[in-house]
Amino acid sequence: MKPRHKRLLLILAALAVLGVAAALVLNAFRSNLVFFYTPTQIANGEAPKNRAFRIGGLVKSGSLKRDGITAHFIVTDTAREFTVQYTGILPDLFREGRGVVAQGKLGDNGQFVATEVLAKHDENYMPPEAKNAVEQAQKAAKTLKQ
């Protein structure tokens, strides 16, 4: 083996060790790296108590109620759900049935009082006509099942 091949091997080995170390560190900090907690995680007591955190999930269809500039809506991950109360302007992409991330505290009554609401959108991009077609196809599939 030539010295230059030895050096290359040494570099690759060092990179592999570094990669494993990074993987272990990130794994250890896994719980600190999440941006939000899902309703199921909160229900299981994984979210921090007495401290602000973020809840993330879908806005339940038909759950949005407005009272002046205070909005009430339900965040669900289809398994568990929490009511969120927020006073302020909701982002443009905030819609029922869409993703949302709210920052705030969980009150004693089980209601989440948010200080900030962010809209989370998905990675699908399509023209409105295509979206209508997709929605109609889904509706048709539903009626077929019934």
Binding site: R4, L8, L18, F35, L93, L118, E123, Y125, P127
Partner: protein, 247 residues
């Protein structure tokens, strides 16, 4: 008879790479202009409006290619660094330094356009989620690399120190890429990936790929231009530069 048609080691010498780079630059510069014009035309004029985000999504045609490029350039820098450290080729270090400013530019562009996109869509300029934070670290790695190289006077030693930083930092690239899969993030998942069909309309995808190719061509143009300057600077006293400068 040689087994390979091109003798790669010939072009590992700055003296023979200098004229080759000079000949390649105009082609890549022309490709940059053509591809960017086509990409912007498809992206801004041909691609349809998005059902969710309206016209605002069009920033994707700069944001995504810039982000891809910022990650890819760092990998290339790490590749040249590994080559330079093990084979002791002078050109490797020069290529690494030549790529760094363009990489930093794309990392900045990615953060900047992302911020402009985040405010109207998410409702925040910046959030500390895993994707955004790791991309910010990449930007700092580029700045750190440039600063480290600038701080060391001896170019060979600067190359070595920079190469180690580039190699250590490359661990961050897969973290950026997979952050949206590994953790809950506000940033959405990848629309285009190796493992599934792209989740966007075809013309949108075409515009994005054209812009990505334009950024590739731009990167090559800039890197070659910059490496020629670095070669001249470092080999100022050598015979071939004196001859070349006389022309």
């Amino acid at each position: 008879m040689s087994t390979s048609l091109i003798n790669w080691f010939k072009f590992a010498s700055p003296a023979s790479f200098y004229p080759l780079a000079g000949r390649l630059i105009p082609w890549f510069a022309a490709a940059t202009l053509l591809l960017a014009a086509a990409g912007l035309w498809v992206g801004l004029a041909v691609a349809p409006t998005d059902a969710q985000q309206g016209e605002g999504y069009r920033i994707i045609f700069v944001h995504v290619p810039a982000s891809w490029m910022s990650m890819f350039i760092y990998c290339i820098m790490a590749f040249w660094s590994a080559l330079g450290l093990s084979f002791n080729t002078r050109l490797s270090g020069m290529m690494t330094s030549a790529l760094a400013p363009t990489g930093a530019l794309f990392a900045f562009l990615s953060l900047w356009t992302g911020s402009l996109w985040g405010k109207p869509m998410w409702g925040a300029w910046w959030v500390w989620d895993a994707r955004l934070t790791s991309q910010l670290i990449l930007f700092f790695l580029y700045l750190g690399f440039i600063a480290l190289q600038a701080a060391i006077d001896d170019p060979r030693r600067a190359d070595k120190a920079g190469a180690i930083l580039a190699l250590v930092g490359v661990v961050n690239v897969p973290i950026i890429y997979f952050s949206v899969q590994w953790w809950n993030t506000l940033h959405q998942g990848a629309s285009v990936s190796m493992t599934k069909a792209p989740s966007m309309a075809h013309t949108m995808l075409l515009g994005m790929l054209l812009m990505a190719l334009a950024f590739w061509a731009y990167t090559i143009t800039m890197a070659l231009t910059r490496v020629r300057c670095i070669i001249l600077e470092r080999e100022l006293t050598s015979e071939w530069v004196k001859k070349n400068a006389m022309e």
